[in-house]
């Protein structure tokens, strides 16, 4: 090798980012379909794909493949034991972690856009309707809304169900005999919805690249704005807690402690990735830290502290991060992107 070749080789290798620790010790899979959704169950991480398959990852095993849908797995949820999925084949399925499939409902040409579950209750939405099965009921209770449902979420008690749609959120409360509803109004189209861990707030992501929140006690509105892109992912982080959100060049984390939550307060902004836009947020369970996935495929881990530097967990691979999940005992992490790449690795060096 001539000196010039040597020089060029060194130069090039210095430009290619080194593998991260997680990348070098983890397993790499490439499935031929986009990763669409993921959920952590009692013993595994279940991942939905654009080819209709659900792949279930257990520690120390090869992923188990479930041929679930005849199209895209649009949504996924768990009650711990079972996995619930909705697909663009119109089916709502209940899957065991071992791969048994039970079809709960079939809406044919209407997609099952969102699903949720809490203990013995399972819920899905198709079009404007939400269907709830509780206990061993064979027939679903149907709840109608004025427009297509954007998202579903139970609160921490399982007694309240938030349903987002155009113009706001309907909060359904399970009574002795029937479900009653309250409407939270805000103009615009609401998609993903979630309760705060203490059940005091509801937050939605909107078509208009902003978040909207309500304090349930008095329906005070919380508008969280200034994002350059749509907020595809948000999650509650730490004990305080903070609402960590995607849709910017970093993770924007709004404080929800105190009496007024984020009202009149500045968010904490961490895990800056230059020009890239964050697309997925996953808290590091039990810590005040968050994994942030970006549209170029990179993933950073950062404490919720603007003065700390983030760690590079995954280098850019070119495709948007669409799933990050931590295994139930916090030993493993799974990262998936829209090209169908999965990185499955131990989270810590020594296990």
């Amino acid at each position: 090798m001539s000196d010039r070749e040597k020089f060029l080789k060194e130069k090039i290798s210095s430009l290619v980012p080194k593998e991260t620790e997680l990348e070098s010790r983890g397993e790499h899979f490439h499935f031929q379909a986009p990763v669409t959704c993921s959920v952590t169950t009692s013993h595994s991480i279940a991942v939905g794909f654009g080819d209709g398959k659900v792949r279930v990852f257990f520690e120390g095993e090869k992923p188990r493949i479930i041929d679930a849908h005849n199209g895209v797995v649009l949504s996924i949820a768990t009650n711990g034991e079972y996995i619930f999925t909705g697909g663009d084949d119109g089916r709502f399925l209940k899957l065991s972690q071992n791969g048994d499939i039970v079809e709960i409902a079939n809406f044919n040409y209407r997609w099952v856009d969102s699903v949720a579950s809490y203990k013995d209750s399972m819920v899905c939405s198709s079009g404007r309707n939400v269907y709830i099965w509780s206990g061993d009921q064979k027939k679903a209770k149907s709840l109608e809304h004025s427009s297509t449902v954007g998202g579903l979420a139970f609160d921490h008690t399982g007694k309240r169900l938030a349903v987002s749609s155009y113009g706001g959120v309907t909060v359904w409360e399970r009574g002795e005999r029937r479900w009653t509803s309250k409407r939270l109004v805000w103009k615009g189209s609401h998609s993903k919805v979630g309760f705060s861990p203490d059940g005091k707030y509801i937050v939605t992501s909107m078509q208009e690249s902003e978040l909207h929140g309500w304090r349930l006690r008095d329906k005070v509105d919380l508008a969280m704005r200034g994002y350059p892109a749509k907020i595809k992912s948000f999650a509650w982080v730490g004990d305080t807690p903070h609402l960590a959100t995607s849709g910017d060049h970093q993770a924007i984390c709004w404080p929800f402690d105190g009496k007024d939550g984020p009202l009149g307060r500045e968010p904490v902004c961490v895990a800056d990735c230059g020009k890239q836009i964050s697309t997925f947020i996953e808290p590091l369970t039990g810590e005040k830290a968050v994994f942030v996935g970006f549209n170029d495929g990179s993933v950073l881990l950062s404490e919720l502290d603007e003065n700390k530097n983030p760690f590079v967990i995954r280098n850019p691979k070119g495709s948007e991060i669409s799933a990050i999940a931590i295994s139930p005992n916090r030993s493993h992490i799974l990262i998936g992107d829209l090209d169908g790449h999965i990185l499955w690795s131990t989270l810590w060096k020594n296990n």
């Binding site: 031929q32 379909a33 986009p34 669409t36 794909f49 654009g50 080819d51 209709g52 199209g71 895209v72 649009l74 663009d88 044919n108 040409y109 209407r110 997609w111 856009d113 079009g127 404007r128 427009s147 297509t148 954007g150 155009y166 103009k187 615009g188 189209s189 909107m206 078509q207 208009e208 892109a229 749509k230 829209l338």
Partner: protein, 323 residues
């Protein structure tokens, strides 16, 4: 907006009974080896021969973005997003609208939603019109006018059921609303599919083909609500600042009445052709390479809309010329 990996979306409009489903089934049976997704709203009336049919409600909603007439199709944002996650690549997506639908929210969805415009592109709006009933429908329903005004292609169907004179009359009526749409006269929607699909009609470089050959100043006095079109040409270069000020203000104030606009502009001191096209208040604009050597540099703009004669368009356009 011109990435090759964007999946083209064709929008089929037309009144109930005009022949939309006939056209749809022809596309699906004749284009062998192509993978299409079809989004329908009146599913069940006639069968659709495709394995990927999505049933949706036309959900038109207002954007909270300060643009008063900016409405989008929420169901399209959701469904196009879902279709883009499929493992198999789609060759095209066809959206069939209900008979009484205004095409503007569909078109505006492609301007407003980043995810939609990153992964898909509006190919063309194809309107199927019934040669027997179109004239009366135009008088009774403003949606019929809008469907003609927005069309890149009008399939004038069922011409075997009317005489030549009537065909000519209805064709003149279409021309008056939209002189730029390509009119294809058919029975049973039997038009060549190459004239319906893959047109790229919303791409900016297609605006370069807009021909200034009609320049009628003798507009009949129209009923106030009628949709008409006006076009202007200038061989004198335009002042960029003046044009931006006038045009921006025009769309802001009159965007509700201006259904579609397009133009090629020759700005003083610039070598590039500037091209724009708009739907109501929303606009897409870009320089499109230098003017061809040795050819005249003339600016031309076209408007299709209501009450155009009240907008002083001629004076406004003249005022943009360099002094």
């Amino acid at each position: 907006m011109n990435d090759m990996s964007q999946v083209p979306v064709t929008v089929l409009t037309g009144f109930l009974g005009a022949g939309k489903t006939t056209l749809l089934n022809r596309i699906l049976t004749e284009q062998h080896g192509q993978k299409y997704a079809v989004i329908v709203n009146e599913f069940g009336e006639q069968g659709i021969d495709n394995d990927l049919v999505v049933d949706a409600d036309e959900e038109v909603f207002e954007m909270n973005n300060g643009c008063i007439c900016c409405t989008v199709r929420g169901d399209l944002i959701r469904i196009l997003g879902g279709l883009m996650k499929r493992a198999d690549k789609l060759d095209a997506i066809i959206v069939e609208t209900t008979g009484l639908a205004d095409p503007a929210p569909v078109a505006q969805t492609f301007f407003v939603d980043q995810d939609v415009s990153d992964r898909t592109k509006l190919d063309a709006i194809v309107t199927v019109a019934d040669a027997v009933h179109l004239s009366s429908q135009l008088g009774e329903h403003h949606e019929a006018e809008e469907q003609i005004a927005f069309a890149d292609v009008v399939l004038l169907n069922k011409i075997d059921l009317v005489d030549d004179k009537a065909v000519e009359n209805v064709q003149n009526r279409i021309r008056k609303i939209n002189p730029y749409a390509k009119i294809i006269k058919t029975n049973h929607c039997s038009a060549p599919l190459t004239e319906v699909l893959g047109l790229n009609a919303f791409s900016l470089d297609r605006v370069l083909e807009v021909e200034p050959d009609f320049l009628e100043s003798d507009h009949d006095h129209e009923h106030d609500d009628d949709v008409t079109s006006l076009s202007f040409v200038s061989d004198t270069p335009l002042d960029m600042d003046k044009f931006q000020a006038w045009f921006g203000n025009l769309l802001q104030e009159k965007g509700q009445d201006i259904l579609r606009s397009k133009g090629i502009l020759n700005f003083e001191g610039r070598d590039d052709r500037y091209v724009f096209q708009g739907v109501h208040m929303l606009m897409d604009a870009s320089p499109m390479g230098p003017w061809p050597a040795g050819k005249d540099r003339s600016s031309r703009v076209v408007f299709i809309g209501r009450n155009l004669e009240t907008m002083n368009l001629q004076e406004g356009f003249e005022g943009c010329k360099v002094a």
